[in-house]
């Protein structure tokens, strides 16, 4: 299967490193507006051809799959051109700037018998997958509620809040936080299904070029409720996922490898918290070591992206079910739309 990539920036590195490890996948071409960026990526990953014009790349390389890893406002145009060239599209989140564009994109994919896969990477990290496995086996019980909280300092001068060069994400409704809504929504969607209603609070605590730096949302999903949050001020950085089931509860930090479960124990009731605490402590100590070791090698926090790409290519090759379907993409982004602020500023 021939793969090509448009936009050789930071996240592209994860796509390319993973693609190098996938059997039966050949990285045939890469494109970036900057010739040096494209050529450097081609040299680094042993890619035969590099381009600065994506249409020339699509025409010459004829890829089966195109990864779109450019800033979000260009996704729609590049994905549409890739469909025209007969390729499947794996697109970074958010897939498009507006929901109308996404609907047009999905329609075009279906008309051409192609697929559009949005990167819902955290869903495929080991911790959520283990929780989903226990839910499927019945051990966890039905999910009643899920909490996802991203604590991330995005107010530093070198990223979203760069005072010299406005970050492309600031053009999205909600600004930089909008870049993280697909993470929140994709995790919520996986555990409680499509949303019926959503209520949000968007605020700004500190002076910065960002329109908002705090977000809270409550979602009423088809199978349960979700509390989704983003905090630029709470430290240290973390991505907390808490899932509440009828028999068990799970807590994970997706920036690390920490995952703990609390559930029924076959012991006298007063001893349950004590034994649960011991078990939790053991799991946390193990995770601390695993988190340290994964810093040396491998995808680290991006383990979910690698898993998603592995499953996607396997599904495309053998025609089995995709890990992220078109309806997943539409439902997640419908939730994202419901979470966006009504005003551009608080």
């Amino acid at each position: 299967m021939k793969a090509a990539l448009i936009g050789a920036g930071q996240i592209a590195r994860q796509h390319l490193t993973c693609l190098q490890t996938l059997p039966g996948v050949e990285l045939t071409a890469i494109c970036d507006l900057s010739p040096a960026t494209a050529e450097a990526a081609a040299e680094r990953y042993g890619i035969r051809a590099w381009f600065t014009d994506h249409r020339a790349m699509l025409e010459k390389a004829r890829p089966d799959v195109v990864h779109v890893t450019t800033p979000p406002t260009s996704h729609f145009r590049l994905a549409m051109d890739s469909f025209d060239a007969g390729a499947h599209v794996i697109v970074e989140k958010p897939a498009t700037s507006t929901f109308e564009e996404l609907e047009a994109l999905v329609r075009r994919a279906q008309e051409g018998g192609r697929h559009v896969i949005e990167d819902h990477n955290y869903v495929f990290n080991r911790a959520p997958q283990e929780i989903l496995r226990r839910i499927k086996s019945g051990e966890f019980g039905a999910v009643t509620h899920v909490e996802v909280l991203i604590c991330l300092d995005i107010l530093g001068p070198n990223g979203f809040a760069d005072p010299n060069s406005p970050h492309p994400a600031l053009t999205l409704a909600g600004g930089a936080i909008a870049d993280f809504l697909p993470h929140l929504a994709s995790l919520a969607h996986r555990f409680v299904g499509p949303h019926r209603t959503a209520q949000t609070v968007w605020t700004k605590r500190k002076p910065s070029p960002l329109p908002f730096d705090e977000f809270r949302g409550i979602v009423d999903g088809e199978r349960g409720t979700a509390a989704l949050s983003f905090s630029s001020s709470s430290q240290p950085d973390a991505l907390w996922l808490r899932v509440y089931g009828e028999r068990m509860q799970a807590t994970a930090n997706l920036f690390e490898t920490r995952l703990t479960f609390d559930g029924p124990r076959n012991v006298p009731k007063p001893l349950r918290p004590f034994l649960s605490g011991l078990a939790e402590g053991k799991a946390i100590r193990r995770a601390a070591l695993a988190t340290l070791l994964r810093k040396f090698k491998g995808p680290g926090t991006y383990e979910g992206l690698w898993e998603l790409l592995t499953r996607t290519y396997r599904a495309l090759a053998d025609g089995s079910g995709l890990p992220v379907t078109a309806s997943d993409v539409l439902e997640v982004n419908r939730m994202v739309e419901a979470l966006k602020p009504r005003e551009q500023r608080p």
Binding site: N158, N164, F296
Partner: protein, 328 residues
């Protein structure tokens, strides 16, 4: 003569501006939009041009009436991709703009980091090998960005027929920049001094700035590649001692022979870390060598080409770095 200086408010840039003014060169200083310049005390004759090389659309205007470009801007912190974008893509955009102007001369600030220390023995000079492809991509983000910046600039200069001088400074030191990566490994207030008798390829920022101003004005610098060091360099042990005394930072110094340190790093890299490249730079043998390998450094070509001698000797540089600040 009018010079456009990118990165003009940086550590080296502010001294280059002063050195150009001292030679009677008119200066247009390119700085980022949010840069604060009050503390620099630039005279009113310095023309300020605010732009961000990564995104500004009006870069061509910066070259109006300019005879020579001194390109010093580079991103030296942040992740590998941020450094590549801020150094290499920025250079592509700047030189695209220059190609539409009448300016035909440029002086590039490159770096010793482009040299492949691992393949260099005894003496490192302008003829020493550069990092080969694809090995260069196993180096740190700064090295990759500077290597690519020089590559991009040489390609532009060749295509456009420009007169290009590439200056490769060693470790630049000066006020508030006395601690150098070449000094080994800092552990709190204390120091592991790896190869205490190794000489450091170093240039004081004011001496280095003088070379840039000279290269901008002197046609003999055209089409030359010149290493910029003040001389053979101080030994790590004695420079660290001067630095600790000058900066008033007490601490212990533990000397470790270079061969013992590199041997340990190589062994750990092959066994404990299993050739992982995400460990700290000092634990990766090739990056370790780029910081600490004992080599002989000289500035013969710089002296012979431009007749340059450093305006300040080591003692004067120490005084200018650690003594009372000169009034503006």
């Amino acid at each position: 003569m009018r010079a456009l200086v990118t990165g003009a408010n940086g550590f080296l840039g502010r001294h280059v501006v002063a050195a150009l003014l001292a030679r009677g060169v008119e200066v247009r200083a390119m700085v980022r939009p949010a840069a604060r310049l009050e503390a620099l005390g630039w005279p009113s004759c310095v023309e300020i041009f605010r732009a961000d090389l990564r995104t500004s659309r009006e870069l061509a205007r910066a070259f109006e009436g300019v005879d020579v470009l001194l390109h010093l801007a580079a991103v030296v912190s942040g992740g590998e991709d941020a450094q590549f974008a801020g150094t290499v893509v920025a250079t592509e955009r700047l030189l695209d703009a220059m190609a539409s102007s009448a300016c035909r001369r440029l002086v590039l600030c490159s770096s010793f980091s482009v040299y492949d220390y691992s393949s260099t023995h005894r003496t490192l000079d302008e003829g020493s090998p550069l990092h080969p492809v694809p090995d260069v991509y196993t180096r740190d983000g700064y090295t990759i960005a500077k290597w690519w910046q020089e590559r991009v600039t040489r390609r532009f200069a060749e295509q456009q027929g420009w007169n290009l001088a590439v200056l490769r400074p060693g470790f630049i030191w000066g006020r508030d920049h006395g601690y150098l990566a070449a000094l080994g490994q800092q552990l709190g207030r204390h120091h592991l001094v790896i190869g205490p008798l190794t000489r450091i390829p170093m240039t004081h920022v004011e001496n280095c700035a003088d070379v840039f101003a000279l290269a901008a004005a002197d046609p003999r610098a055209g089409d030359q590649t010149l290493n910029v060091v003040d001389g053979p360099g101080e030994r790590i042990w004695s420079y660290l001692s001067d630095h600790m005394r000058g900066s008033g930072q007490p601490g212990w110094r533990l000397p470790i022979p270079y061969w013992l340190a590199i041997g340990t790093v190589r062994l750990a890299f092959a066994t404990v870390f299993r050739r992982a490249t995400k460990v700290p730079s000092i634990l990766i043998p090739r990056r370790f060598e780029s910081r600490l390998k004992p080599l002989h450094f000289e500035n013969r070509r710089l002296r012979e080409t431009l007749g340059w001698t450093p305006p300040f000797d080591y003692k004067q540089c120490l005084a200018r770095t650690y003594g009372p600040a000169a009034p503006r």
